[in-house]
């Protein structure tokens, strides 16, 4: 059922991403930077909050007046800071929801990613607690409404001897200490929020927590402009003797209060706890993946550390040698953290299809999709290419990935395909292998869109390996003009097919008239020349 929900959403998301790619380019695309944007917005919120705190007065009588002072008298700085504080925190909710939705739609919350997803759940709670406690501090009518409703919601639990909502019965039932306590909460809860955000990325190798400078600058300019054009303002001052009638709710943080008014505390608690538990359990809900984690063949491993350096999920550690071979270290796989992407296989220098003696055995391999199987598939494809008469174009071997554009549909006369769990699993020697057998005239390497690799670094490592910037390199004898890299999402299948056909006909021209190579493929922001 999840797949049924996810499929149309993924198609929609990828189309939207493509539109944003055109406007922002693949590296600035905010859809792919939602997590880093959340961190950036947190810092904007923190810095503006520090300034607001300097001017804020923590007394019943002074709280509202001090906020009004910054909004009206010192609008040029205090007002902007207050608005920045408001809008950055609102924007944080938006990017958090989009980030969570995107990871769900792209099925990137299970397996090795369960930890980050799980920690995301308390992060949501802390974000809401931070935002809602901030609304109390203004001590206007909205604050009064939020404070009373929050207390009534807590009272439903029945854990307090007397209802805590009775603290807000009359104007004289509040003390200045209450505001000091609120400030304390509003400082410490965001610290816990930051803490959970940090844990959220703790297990991620080379986590990105800062957005590209251009995107950060654009976001900041947008927030400042919004603060100037549409400054955040308060309601009338709070008066506990009067019920506020109409409220300008912040619909990012406070929509749950409507549900509380409509359904009461029990339903809202049930909803909040139920949704939290469901979210937390999602990584373990069916359909479960049961493929086996990467396995190290110790007799082949020389402790070169390439798999350790390339693993996107930190699933490989280098430990002291446990056998008698004359190497210092050996690779050890943490099966819980292993995403079964095969990037380690592609990084291993032993992973070469030219091995003949005793079958293809590499130092680290996926038991359920072994490199020997990849070579078998490649050889089968090459045999098919050799036996088929070319239909006017040249013969092309396509190596693709299960998460990018589906390469199975490309299979036809003159085109053979092999799909891998991640394109990063492909050792560059396979390209050499395919071309040197004489059955393929060109090789197409395709995977997820640039910047949108399902396994995080598969596309990046592949590019760097082909460009001679990362081990294992592609041998210099391989003719580069016979290789195309086309990074394409599942929604780009038609364009991918068109590019493959164009490449085939170009290959024919290469031998006929030695014309210059075609311009970079439209799908390939970083194609290999």
């Amino acid at each position: 059922m999840l797949k049924t929900i996810r499929h149309p959403l993924r198609t929609l998301l990828l189309h939207v991403e493509a539109v944003f790619d055109r406007a922002f380019g693949p590296h600035w695309n905010p859809i792919r930077q939602l997590g880093t944007l959340a961190f950036f917005l947190f810092w904007v919120c923190a810095v503006s909050g520090i300034y607001v705190f300097i001017l804020f007065e923590t007394t019943v009588a002074g709280a509202f007046a001090s906020v009004e002072y910054m909004t009206r008298e010192q609008w040029y700085l205090g007002g902007i800071m207050r608005s920045l504080h408001r809008y950055s925190s609102d924007a944080m909710v938006v990017v958090m929801v989009l980030h969570m939705g995107r990871e769900f739609v792209l099925d990137r919350y299970r397996g090795a990613r369960w930890f980050s997803w799980l920690i995301g759940v308390p992060t949501i709670w802390f974000l809401y607690m931070s935002g809602i406690s901030g609304y109390w501090l203004v001590w206007d009518q909205l604050a009064q409404y939020v404070a009373i409703a929050s207390m009534e919601w807590l009272d439903w639990l029945g854990i307090f001897g007397e209802p805590v909502a009775t603290n807000f019965l009359t104007p004289d039932s509040l003390s200045d200490r209450f505001f000091s306590l609120l400030v304390f909460i509003h400082i410490f809860v965001p610290l816990f929020l930051l803490f959970t955000m940090w844990i959220h990325v703790l297990r991620v190798t080379q986590p990105k927590i800062n957005p590209p400078r251009g995107l950060a600058a654009g976001t900041l300019v947008m927030l400042v402009a919004l603060s100037l054009v549409w400054p955040a303002v308060s309601h009338e001052p709070a008066d506990l003797a009067v019920v506020p009638a109409s409220l300008n709710l912040d619909w990012f943080y406070l929509p749950f209060y409507l549900l509380f008014d409509a359904w009461g505390g029990r339903t809202l608690w049930g909803l909040a706890v139920g949704v939290s538990v469901l979210l937390a359990a999602m990584p373990w809900l069916p359909p479960l993946r049961r493929s086996k984690a990467a396995r190290v063949a110790l007799d082949k491993c020389n402790g070169c550390r390439r798999c350790f350096a390339d693993c996107p999920f930190g699933a490989i550690t280098m430990e002291a040698r446990s056998d008698s071979l004359p190497f210092e270290q050996e690779a050890v796989v943490d099966t819980d953290a292993c995403a079964r992407c095969g990037i380690c296989v592609g990084a291993c220098p032993v992973s070469t299809p030219f091995q003949r003696a005793g079958g293809l055995v590499t130092a680290i391999d996926l038991p359920d999709f072994a490199l020997g199987h990849v070579r078998d598939l490649t050889e089968r494809g090459l045999r098919a290419l050799a036996s088929e008469p070319a239909d006017g174009g040249r013969r092309v071997m396509v190596f693709g990935c299960d998460h990018g554009a589906r390469v199975g549909d490309l299979e036809q006369s003159g085109v053979a395909v092999v799909s891998l769990p991640c394109i990063g699993m492909l050792p560059p020697s396979f390209i050499d292998y395919a071309l040197s057998r004489g059955a393929a005239d060109g090789v197409v390497i395709t995977g997820c869109r640039d910047g949108g690799c399902y396994q995080r670094f598969g596309v990046r490592w592949t590019q760097e390996r082909l460009e001679g910037m990362r081990d294992p390199y592609l041998r210099s004898r391989v003719p580069r003009q016979r290789i195309r890299t086309l990074w394409a999402a599942p929604t780009d299948a038609a364009k991918l097919e068109e590019e493959v056909q164009t490449f085939r006909f170009w290959l024919r021209g290469l031998e006929d008239d030695h014309s210059p190579p075609p311009p970079e493929a439209a799908l390939a922001p970083e194609s290999v020349e």
Partner: protein
């Protein structure tokens, strides 16, 4: 000066108490790994730095050679910049609008709100009695209280009538595991503004319909006014405020 001093103390004391606790949690969750970096992580970082340097050098070399082509170096078209502007504008519009609109009509401005809020202990189920000499002698010297008072109390019952009609009738158990605490009520009732007659009855003796305390009063309620129905324990009476 004293206020400043107490304010500083107010922040300082919790920080001193909770700070080390917070630090300990951080330490065991992962701060330890940041401060005392494991050799494997150190090695990985060293390698990453090396590779980043190598990559940067190669990029420079290849750019000079004119063979390295990436979109990073290429400029965006004016149409793309316009698209970015539109995207930022739409996002700002969404954030700006939904941060304070549309309005939520929480309460009918023509109504007033009655809040029944009181906390009152019911009478003891068993009255206190004097301990006999023998009982006192059996107790340790520091516990020889002359009165023996069983802790359990009766639930409190309240009935609130508005213009002769029952608006609320409820029974609340005493708080606490031993049932010796106060019974608490917190209820809200929106009513039309205007003149109303309130009749409140509070029973604390465990008898159905008991009326140990009563109040009968006419009140003019203004629109949006909050009227508290409570119990003043020092004066021992119900009140409207």
């Amino acid at each position: 000066m004293e206020n400043t001093f107490t304010s500083v103390l107010f922040y300082l004391v919790p920080i001193l108490i909770f700070g080390p606790l917070f630090f300990m949690i951080l330490w065991f969750v992962g701060l330890r790994d940041i401060i005392i970096v494991p050799p494997a992580v150190k090695e990985q970082r060293r390698r990453e730095r090396e590779e980043a340097g190598k990559l940067a050098a190669l990029k420079v070399r290849k750019r000079r050679g004119g063979r390295f082509t990436t979109r990073e170096g290429a400029g965006l078209s004016p149409l793309a910049w316009t698209g970015q502007g539109v995207a930022y504008l739409l996002f700002a519009g969404l954030v700006g609008y939904l941060s304070s609109a549309p309005d939520y009509l929480y309460f009918d401005p023509g109504d007033a709100l009655i809040k029944l809020s009181l906390s009152h202990p019911g009478k003891r189920k068993v009255a206190c009695r004097r301990r006999t000499r023998k009982e006192l002698a059996e107790l340790p010297p520091n516990m020889r209280a002359p009165l023996k008072c069983p802790r359990e109390r009766w639930p409190v019952e309240i009935e609130l009538r508005l213009d002769g009609k029952v608006l609320y009738r409820g029974l609340r158990k005493p708080a606490g595991l031993a049932g010796d605490g106060a019974s608490s009520f917190y209820e809200k009732f929106p009513v039309a503004a205007g003149v109303h007659r309130f009749a409140v009855r509070l029973g604390e003796s465990g008898q159905a319909g008991g009326s140990d305390y009563v109040l009968d009063e006419e009140v003019r309620l203004a629109p949006s006014q909050v009227l508290i129905v409570g119990f003043r324990s020092d004066a021992g009476r119900l009140f409207l405020k």
